[in-house]
């Protein structure tokens, strides 16, 4: 495998921001996850290691530290559900239960049809509009089970 040219060019511009190009690693991991299938595969880690002049094991150490980087394949839609205190106080457990029911995925799991991965997460900074989910990178706040139905129901097909 090799990084697509488009991403390499993007990274070449990105690393200009820093006196040490290694600082571009985490933004680059984000871009790879966004563009190359939703997860950071070993091949991606090797390619990034080559780009940044690192050993693959170093990239692995970095990627595995950060909860936003998925090191296993995920479903087509990624649903993060905050289960920290402000959301819990406003019904996050019911929301999580409902999300799991609608999607067919277990918490930290992917639904059997591969459509959804559901991931309980720590405080997302939506505390004043709790409870919330992040669906494919977009916050949805002030949730009720009805709103969850509306958001996720249509994506099942």
């Amino acid at each position: 495998m090799a990084l697509p040219q488009k991403l390499v060019q993007e990274f070449d511009r990105l690393v200009q921001r820093y006196p040490d190009k290694k600082a571009g690693l985490i933004p680059a991991l984000h871009r790879c996850q966004e563009e190359l299938g939703g997860w950071i595969s070993p091949a991606i880690m090797e390619d990034l290691a080559a780009y940044f002049g690192l050993e693959p094991v170093e990239v692995y150490g970095v990627a595995s530290f950060y909860p936003m980087f998925r090191l296993r394949p995920v479903g087509q839609h990624f649903v993060s559900v905050c289960h920290n205190i402000s959301c819990e106080l406003r019904g996050a457990t019911e929301i999580l239960e409902h999300v799991c029911k609608i999607t067919g995925a277990k918490p930290y799991g992917t639904s059997p049809d591969g459509r959804f991965t559901v991931w309980p997460v720590e405080c997302q900074g939506a505390c004043a509009n709790a409870p919330m989910i992040d669906l494919d990178g977009v916050f949805h706040e002030d949730l009720t089970t009805a709103k969850v139905d509306a958001l996720l129901g249509g994506l099942k097909r």
Binding site: R17, Y18, P19, D20, K22, A23, G24, L25, I26, P27, L29, H30, F52, G61, V62, F65, Y66, P67, M68, F69, S80, H83, N84, I85, S86, E88, L89, R90, T93, E94, L96, E97, C100, K106, P107, Y108, W119, P120, V121, E122, C123, Q124, G125, A126, C127, A128, N129, A130, D134, G137, V138, F139
Partner: protein
């Protein structure tokens, strides 16, 4: 509550508040112009911040002017210098910096430029938590607008002041909100906090002098420069000056982010600003400023929400993110969640924190699910004392220990009942799942 002057959130109420056009119409970038054209010397700007008595708004409350003055004299230390803006906002209950970044990014940028001028930094990095995608987009768009308008980059406003401001993304680790963890992460590494000393002003990003400031702190800078430090110091209480963004969440009718002056009591905030405790209930307990401070009893809401007053209740202001817990809520369940959070977020370097945060989480989990052991409360206290104060590289260990000790101190009977009865008598919904892997 008496009416009070506001400035922090005023522009966020305008249409298209995130654009340069709106910002300029509202008087934006005039403070920067004053600094560059009058001009003010960098030392003068620092002095103004000192006079203002602005304290950091990221949770530690360190005086901003003093922090800026720690940067070495460039004549003696000519190394490149940086400002790092901590937009990693991950303290549970905290969602205020997000409001500023999404709705008033130019305010942050102008503050960053003035701060860079004052500390003589050539570049600033805004480290935004990875989940705040809209904040990142809005800030990046604002940077693009500023550059096009000659407000960013080389020779700003035609002066010989050049400064770059870059966005940078985090990836979901709370510990990267710790200033040295942030710097490690920005450099492309695991977010492991560094032992201090050396402090960032001597050894920061890439080993160079660096100042790390919270978003809201920097956001205050243009106002202080425009109106003078004395103006700022004339608002608030002794030891806590100016207005602050107070988040309030949990069991209130109107959760939100509100601009308030220091001097109002927590009760006034709950009842007059946030519509009171919901469902006609009473407040059983509350966090004043995120989860890393001591819980306070509901009966003690009459305390002024500022740095010094909260100390008298054995707590602290933190990020001023109030979390209100009603009297139908299980403290065991609350602490199960809080302890689990620190277990999830510990970077794992220090023995006490790595093992201790897991241990606390396991104990609270057992108590909350009816499997408490008779020695659990004594063990919780003992472990928390082993984890703090100041025994670890950074304060996450303390942050886990502090609420633990307060919960055992204030709600001992309730927790003991859970253990004695081998169940949590206060019902709450549960979904069983093990942690992420």
């Amino acid at each position: 509550m008496k009416p009070f002057p506001t400035w922090l959130l005023d522009r966020t109420k305008l249409a298209d508040s995130h654009t340069l056009a709106t910002y300029k119409k509202a008087g934006g970038y005039q403070a920067l112009e004053k600094v560059l054209k009058q001009p003010l010397a960098p030392a003068d700007v620092i002095q103004e911040l000192k006079v203002s008595e602005l304290r950091g708004r990221g949770g530690a409350g360190f005086p901003t002017g003093m922090k800026w003055s720690f940067m070495p004299d460039p004549a003696k230390d000519p190394r490149p210098r940086y400002l790092a803006i901590n937009a990693d906002e991950s303290e549970p209950g905290t969602c205020k910096d997000r409001v500023l970044m999404e709705r008033d990014p130019h305010g942050l940028i102008e503050g960053a430029l003035i701060a860079c001028y004052a500390i003589r930094a050539q570049a600033a990095y805004i480290y935004v938590r990875g989940e705040y995608r809209l904040s990142y987009q809005r800030c990046q768009a604002a940077l693009d607008e500023a550059r096009a308008a000659g407000l960013l980059g080389k020779n700003i406003l035609g002066t010989d002041f050049s400064c770059e401001v870059h966005m940078h993304k985090g990836a979901g680790a709370y510990i990267c909100g710790e200033e040295t963890g942030l710097m490690e992460s920005l450099e492309g590494k695991r977010g492991h906090p560094r032992p201090k000393p050396p402090f960032p002003a001597m050894f920061g990003l890439w080993g160079q002098p660096t100042t790390v400031n919270n978003v809201e702190t920097i956001f205050n800078v243009p106002f202080i420069v425009a109106r003078g430090g004395a103006w700022h110091a004339g608002i608030g209480t002794k030891g806590s000056k100016g207005n602050f963004l107070c988040g309030i969440s949990g069991h209130v009718n109107k959760p939100g982010v509100y601009e308030l002056p220091f001097g109002v009591t927590a009760r006034a905030i709950v009842d007059e600003v946030a519509g009171g405790v919901w469902k006609g209930r009473q407040c059983k307990a509350w966090f004043p400023g995120g989860s890393s401070c001591s819980l306070v009893r509901g009966e003690d809401l009459d305390v002024v929400l500022d740095h010094d007053s909260l100390k008298t209740k054995g707590s602290s202001l933190g990020t001023a993110a109030m979390v209100i817990i009603d009297d139908h809520t299980s403290i065991a369940r609350v602490m199960e969640i809080i302890a689990r959070f620190y277990d999830h977020e510990s970077c794992g370097q220090c023995s006490q924190c790595r093992e201790g945060t897991q241990w606390l989480a396991q104990i609270f989990h057992r108590i909350a699910t009816g499997h408490g052991q008779p020695d659990d409360l004594a063990t919780l206290e003992s472990l928390a004392q082993g984890m703090a104060p100041g025994k670890t590289i950074c304060a996450l260990s303390d942050a886990a220990a502090i609420p633990t000790l307060s919960a055992v101190r204030l709600f001992r009977d309730e927790l003991a009942a859970c253990i004695r009865e081998q169940r949590d008598p206060i019902p709450y919904p549960r979904v069983e799942y093990a942690g992420a892997h």
